[in-house]
């Protein structure tokens, strides 16, 4: 059955066709794709920077770029990847596209604020990248720790602060929108505990965004005063306190890890049941795990500061709190495994990336628990062990889920399927390249190679070269992906409305969906994961949701 074409809306004042992606569109689907495409642009820019870093580190001496350039590239790589790629894509991109469907709404609660939040990103990105070419970029790493950030060139640092403030504002506006949409815009009859898991993940994430991002904004304001007006908040030479900066910075930046990874948890919880043809295992425990991670995530920040002269009671408290996070996270893992257990697995690209996510993230999680223990952390603090751990979480975790989600939702975005063979090639190259790149970094760190330095002891050369080869593989892996997403948009196999036979609401409309998501009433999906269940036991609304607007089946 085809749903009436969205042509009825052509007389609206908003631009139609591809032009609307360059407009101040208020449609959540357009904004979601704007976020996605912008994010991927910055992913490739940030990836090129990673390439420069790995090229430099292929040899122990500083020979590929100057040391200042290395510092700039290192800073920009971290900032771009976190603030312009992962946070906007897993929150703004998929969040804007999917959340209104999941709550049965026609748009986000505040469509105009939504568009404003997106359009703060391009100027921020241009400022950040442009600073490299015009004023010289910041050189103090993505953490901008004073006094380093007070002694490196000031102009680049100030531009960096302005850019991050813009991105933080965008993130806060997005968070407010998600909270209002999920809590207040649900379709009548839809209970909170019937929402798809991604809604809960985005609710938790948005709470973290709203509570922690403003603290970073305030801190960076104070830092900019230190740079511009020569106040001494964080300048020990003027009586200031650098550790206070670290506390305030990590009060945001530790939750930021959950802001990057909780939405990925949600997305993977949508993908696994559909391709395993089984209900999501342990829905209720999943929800409470997310809420527990939100609460615990706010009180673990000082585990980044075990070498900053933290008093013993603080070390004890933050070690215990951090270790506790392994409990809700572990619950989620066993739930995903139980979801897969005995399922009819379709090992397509989306599923391969999702399963690889579970493997990578377990590894990153174990090193994370190890890092929470003070004696171990003091040994590997500021070494490549931390770099390896972090990339296992954010690349092996979130980026793998982003790719899985692209393979999963591309048919909904465009109405066409992605090529499976290219997808598997992409997966293979990414998985091998990723592990080759980041696994050796754990050994490097354990043996004492410091992070963020362009030169290193020659005894580390072999492992660094293996890592650089892995990075090269990852760069190559993006070629089949790029070719796939660009060509499939025009030549891909036509997907139909619901190629995966999914029950979540975004599949119960046409592909791509019409403006305002449904012609007629939104379907009421009370059991979004009712796979493999006898048809009779399914909620009537879920099974026949599509009939709600066909007229004949309307009840």
């Amino acid at each position: 059955m085809t749903v009436a074409a969205p042509n009825d809306f052509q007389e609206s004042l908003q631009p139609q066709g591809w032009l609307r992606y360059f407009s101040f569109s208020l449609d959540h689907k357009v904004i979601g794709l704007q976020y996605l495409v912008t994010g991927f642009l910055f992913y490739f820019i940030g990836g090129a920077m990673a390439g420069v870093i790995r090229a430099e580190l292929a040899s122990p001496i500083s020979d590929f770029v100057s040391r200042e350039t290395y510092n700039e590239v290192l800073t920009l790589h971290g900032t771009v990847m976190i603030f312009l790629w992962i946070v906007p894509v897993v929150n703004g991109g998929f969040g804007n596209y999917l959340i209104p469907f999941y709550v049965g709404a026609r748009d986000m609660a505040f469509p105009r604020l939504n568009a404003v939040a997106f359009w703060m990103i391009p100027p921020a990105g241009i400022l950040l990248i442009g600073s490299y070419f015009i004023t010289g970029a910041a050189q103090s790493g993505w953490t901008a720790y004073p006094p380093l950030s007070l002694t490196t060139p000031a102009l680049g640092q100030v531009v960096w602060i302005v850019s991050v403030l813009l991105l933080g504002g965008s993130s806060i506006f997005g968070g407010i929108n998600f909270i209002a949409t999920i809590l207040k815009l649900r379709r009548p009859g839809l209970q909170l505990m019937q929402l798809p898991m991604y809604c809960w993940a985005m609710l938790g994430t948005s709470i973290l965004v709203v509570l922690s991002t403003p603290v970073l904004a305030g801190t960076l304001l104070l830092l900019s005063f230190d740079i511009v007006a020569h106040t001494g908040f964080f300048n020990p030479a003027l009586g200031g306190n650098v550790v206070v900066y670290q506390h305030l910075f990590w009060f945001y930046s530790h939750p930021a890890v959950y802001i990057m990874v909780l939405p990925a948890f949600g997305l993977v919880s949508e993908i696994l049941p559909i391709h395993a043809r089984k209900p999501l295992f342990g829905y209720t425990t999943m929800v409470y795990s997310i809420l527990a991670i939100v609460v615990l995530g706010l009180v673990v920040w000082a585990h980044h500061m075990f070498t900053s002269g933290t008093p013993p009671w603080m070390r004890l408290f933050f070690t215990i709190a951090t270790s506790f996070i392994a409990v809700p996270t572990g619950i989620k893992f066993f739930n995903w495994l139980a979801t897969l257990w005995g399922g009819k697995l379709a090992l397509n690209s989306a599923m391969l990336f999702s399963c690889a996510f579970i493997v990578n993230f377990v590894f990153g999680g174990i090193t994370g628990v190890a890092l929470a223990q003070v004696p171990f952390d003091i040994h590997v603090h500021d070494t490549y062990f931390v770099v390896g751990h972090f990339h296992y979480i954010v690349y092996g975790g979130t980026v793998f889920v982003i790719f899985a989600s692209i393979y999963h939702w591309y048919p909904k975005f465009t109405g066409r399927m992605l090529n499976e063979d290219l997808g598997r090639l992409h997966f293979l190259l990414t998985f091998v390249g990723f592990n080759l790149c980041f696994a050796p970094q754990h050994w490097l760190g354990l043996n004492g190679m410091p992070r963020r330095v362009a030169e290193y002891d020659p005894s580390f050369t072999t492992l660094n070269q293996i890592s650089s080869v892995g990075a090269l593989l990852m760069a190559i892996s993006s070629l089949p992906f790029l070719y796939n997403v660009l060509v499939s948009a025009f030549r891909g196999q036509v997907a139909g409305d619901n190629p995966w036979n999914a029950l979540t609401p975004e599949w119960l409309t046409s592909s791509p969906p019409p403006v305002e998501n449904w012609i007629g009433e939104a379907p009421l999906v009370k059991h979004p994961y009712g796979y493999g269940v006898d048809e009779d036991t399914l909620s009537v609304e879920a099974a026949t949701g599509r009939d709600l607007w066909s007229g004949a089946g309307r009840r």
């Binding site: 505040f110 304001l221 908040f233 009586g239 306190n241 009060f251």
Partner: protein, 200 residues
């Protein structure tokens, strides 16, 4: 969304049904934003308290401040919260005259607070970069003063909108309610700020 409503012909039937409208969530959104804004202040307060606990000031400088003027200022803000509340009550009762008068009084009290703040700034014995306490003092009060300034502008805007034929009426009170919520928030922040900066 509103642009869709202007479309004609067959689309109108669909959109009319599609726009089954939802509850006005703007105040909810503003409240969420104020939570975020409050966290910025919380960060500043935490920084100030930590500085105070662990960073000794240079010889001869002190955390003591004059109390009279800021105490009067605190009273001004507290009274202004009450006057704003009265204005909101009058609006809901449809009494536009008193509503607008209370609004003007609130704006006046806010402006008086800002004037008092300026007087304090000019009479203080220290400047922005003199020591850590001075910097923190100006950052905290300055950031709050910025909020008050914005609040006064908002109140004057709402006052203008409550004129005959304006967009704020007893049936559409959002503009005034939003400004009132914001104003109470700014006043509440000041009470905390006054407590830890002046009294502690």
């Amino acid at each position: 969304m509103t642009s869709l409503a202007t479309s004609t012909s067959a689309a109108e039937a669909v959109t009319a049904e599609a726009h089954e409208g939802h509850a006005d969530l703007r105040l909810f959104g503003l409240a969420t934003f104020l939570v975020a804004d409050g966290m910025t202040f919380a960060g500043f307060f935490a920084a100030y308290l930590t500085f105070r606990a662990v960073n000794p000031l240079p010889e001869g400088s002190t955390y003591e401040l004059e109390l009279l003027l800021p105490s009067i200022n605190t009273m001004l803000l507290l009274v202004s919260s009450y006057t704003f509340h009265r204005s909101g009550r009058n609006l809901l009762l449809g009494q536009m005259g008193p509503c607008r008068a209370w609004l003007l009084l609130t704006a006046g009290l806010g402006a008086a607070f800002l004037a008092g703040q300026m007087v304090e700034y000019f009479t203080l014995p220290f400047g922005l970069t003199d020591n850590l306490f001075a910097s923190t003092f100006y950052a905290l009060t300055g950031f709050h003063g910025l909020h008050v300034t914005l609040g006064v502008i908002c109140i004057l805007l709402v006052w203008f909108q409550t004129r005959q034929g304006g967009r704020v009426t007893s049936a559409t009170p959002f503009g005034l309610e939003a400004a009132e919520l914001y104003w109470h928030f700014v006043d509440g922040i000041w009470v905390v700020l006054y407590g830890i900066l002046y009294l502690l």
